[in-house]
Structures are given as structure tokens and as C-alpha cells.
């Protein structure tokens, strides 16, 4: 049975009428009212608000009202987002530096070895020989 047939069947049953007791009917009524109350308000004239926004932007750009929340909120969100990413990156970098430094300070090789270009080249030539 596909979806259409199933829907058709339900419609048919409903058309025949349901014998609901008053308690069930009251619960259904309450559920419907709750659903209606929670329903999000429909966008009231998207075109109209876009027009107002455009009007604000074009006609009244210099004025305070021109900078409605519709413009500032996304910018603020963007800035907060960038800030969060930047902070996260800085923390990651700091953690990496701490890890490397801890290993440099405790490792078998002295710090001089990591600063000695000759030794770095020596290791490279040794690796190439092997």
C-alpha cells in the first residue's frame, strides 16, 4: 500500500465518522489549541519587510534608523564567529608550542643540537647515506 492509498483509506474512514467519547474529543481539542498556540507566526509580508529594509538602506542610510538590527545582527554574529575561530586557533597553537617546548626541554638532545645548522645537515647527509 503506497502513501496515497493509505491516505485515501484514512480519508474514507474519517468520512464515515468517528465515534469519539467526550474525553478523547476534549484531549484532541486541547492538543489542537496547544499546537496552534505554539505555531510560529507566519512571516508577515516578506516582500514588504524587504522593501522597508531596502528603503532604510537606500532612503535613510545616514540616519540611525537605517541601521536596523537586520543589518547589525548578522555582522555582530559574524564578528563573534570570527572571534571564536581566532581564539580557538590561538589556543591550538599555544597548546602545540607548549607540547613541543616540553619535549625540547626534556628530550635526549640538548637545545644546542636543534640550533646547530651543521648538525641538522649532518643528520640529513647521514639519512641520505642510509
Amino acid at each position: 500500500m503506497n502513501e496515497f492509498q493509505f491516505g485515501d483509506k484514512i480519508r474514507h474512514i474519517l468520512n464515515q465518522g468517528l465515534s469519539l467519547d467526550s474525553r478523547k474529543a476534549a484531549r484532541l481539542q486541547a492538543a489542537r489549541e496547544l499546537a496552534l498556540a505554539r505555531r510560529r507566526p507566519e512571516p508577515v509580508g516578506v516582500v514588504a519587510s524587504a522593501g522597508v529594509w531596502a528603503g532604510n538602506m537606500v532612503g535613510d542610510f545616514g540616519g540611525w534608523t537605517g541601521l536596523s538590527l537586520r543589518l547589525l545582527a548578522p555582522i555582530a554574529m559574524l564578528l563573534i564567529g570570527f572571534g571564536a575561530i581566532y581564539t580557538w586557533q590561538q589556543n591550538q597553537r599555544a597548546a602545540e608550542v607548549e607540547e613541543i617546548d616540553a619535549q625540547l626541554l626534556t628530550g635526549d638532545l640538548p637545545i644546542d643540537a636543534y640550533l646547530d645548522r651543521g648538525f641538522q645537515n649532518y643528520l640529513k647527509t647521514r639519512a641520505a647515506e642510509e
Binding site: 564578528l79 613541543i100 626541554l105
Partner: protein, 143 residues
């Protein structure tokens, strides 16, 4: 238009300040603000502590936190190398970290030989060592 730009600038400044202020305040403990244990571990840095940037102070505090979990030999190395490391220039530290990252990529069995190789390298005659690290003259000329 001017107001719009001013407001935007304020937003950017506010967010930048928001990102910076807690870092400096929270990440800038004075020497006296460290715990006794941290002071004990970081004692070789005491004289330089006030000149350290906040991010470096945080890093050293992080290392002090790892310290109790280190082997005695590692603790001794940290104590010995701490001051030397802190007194390197930022460029030298960057270079050392880069080299460390490269060396760390070699297989563990090779890594065990590094100490030996360092000793071998140091035993080389000075001219041979010099040949391995020619002075970076061309780079200077370019400047």
C-alpha cells in the same frame, strides 16, 4: 554613512577588546601570583618572569603543571635548559621548534641514535663541522 561606519568600527573594536582583555588579565600572573610549587619549578625564570609576554608565561605555567609527571632525569633537564631556552631570541626558538618537528618525524629506532649522532658530530674536526654549516652570506647580501 559616517554613523554606520562609526558603529561598525565600534563593533570591531569591542569584539577585539573582548577577545584581548581576558587574555591579558587572566594570562598575566605576576611571579607572586604563582603557586609555591610553580615558583619552585620555574625558579630559574624568576629574574626574567616580568619581562615575559603573557602567552609565554602561560606556556611556562603549562610546563610547570607537567613537571610533577616527568621522570627525575627529565626534571633535571628542564631545570638546566629552562633559562637557556627562555633567553633565546624568538627566531632561534622558532628555528629550534621547526628542527625538532622535522627530527621527531624519524622512526623511533632512529631517534634513539640521535644522542650518539650528536656526540659523533661534535667529535668532528672544526673545519668539517664548518663545511656542514656554511655561513648564510647570500641571505645577508640580499638584505
Amino acid at each position: 554613512m559616517r554613523r554606520a561606519l562609526l558603529l561598525l568600527a565600534l563593533c570591531v573594536a569591542a569584539s577585539a577588546a573582548g577577545a584581548q582583555t581576558p587574555k591579558i588579565k587572566g594570562g598575566r600572573p605576576a611571579w607572586a601570583e604563582l603557586t609555591v610549587e610553580q615558583q619552585h619549578t620555574l625558579a630559574p625564570l624568576k629574574a626574567d618572569w616580568e619581562s615575559l609576554q603573557p602567552d609565554r608565561r602561560r606556556k611556562w605555567i603549562g610546563i610547570a603543571k607537567r613537571y610533577p609527571g616527568m621522570k627525575p632525569q627529565e626534571q633535571e633537564r628542564v631545570q638546566r635548559r629552562m633559562q637557556v631556552w627562555a633567553q633565546l631570541t624568538p627566531e632561534q626558538r622558532r628555528q629550534a621548534r621547526e628542527n625538532y618537528k622535522r627530527i621527531a618525524k624519524v622512526p623511533p629506532e632512529e631517534r634513539g641514535k640521535l644522542g650518539e649522532q650528536w656526540a659523533e658530530y661534535q667529535a668532528l674536526p672544526p673545519n668539517e663541522r664548518q663545511n656542514l654549516a656554511p655561513p648564510p652570506a647570500p641571505a645577508k647580501k640580499k638584505k
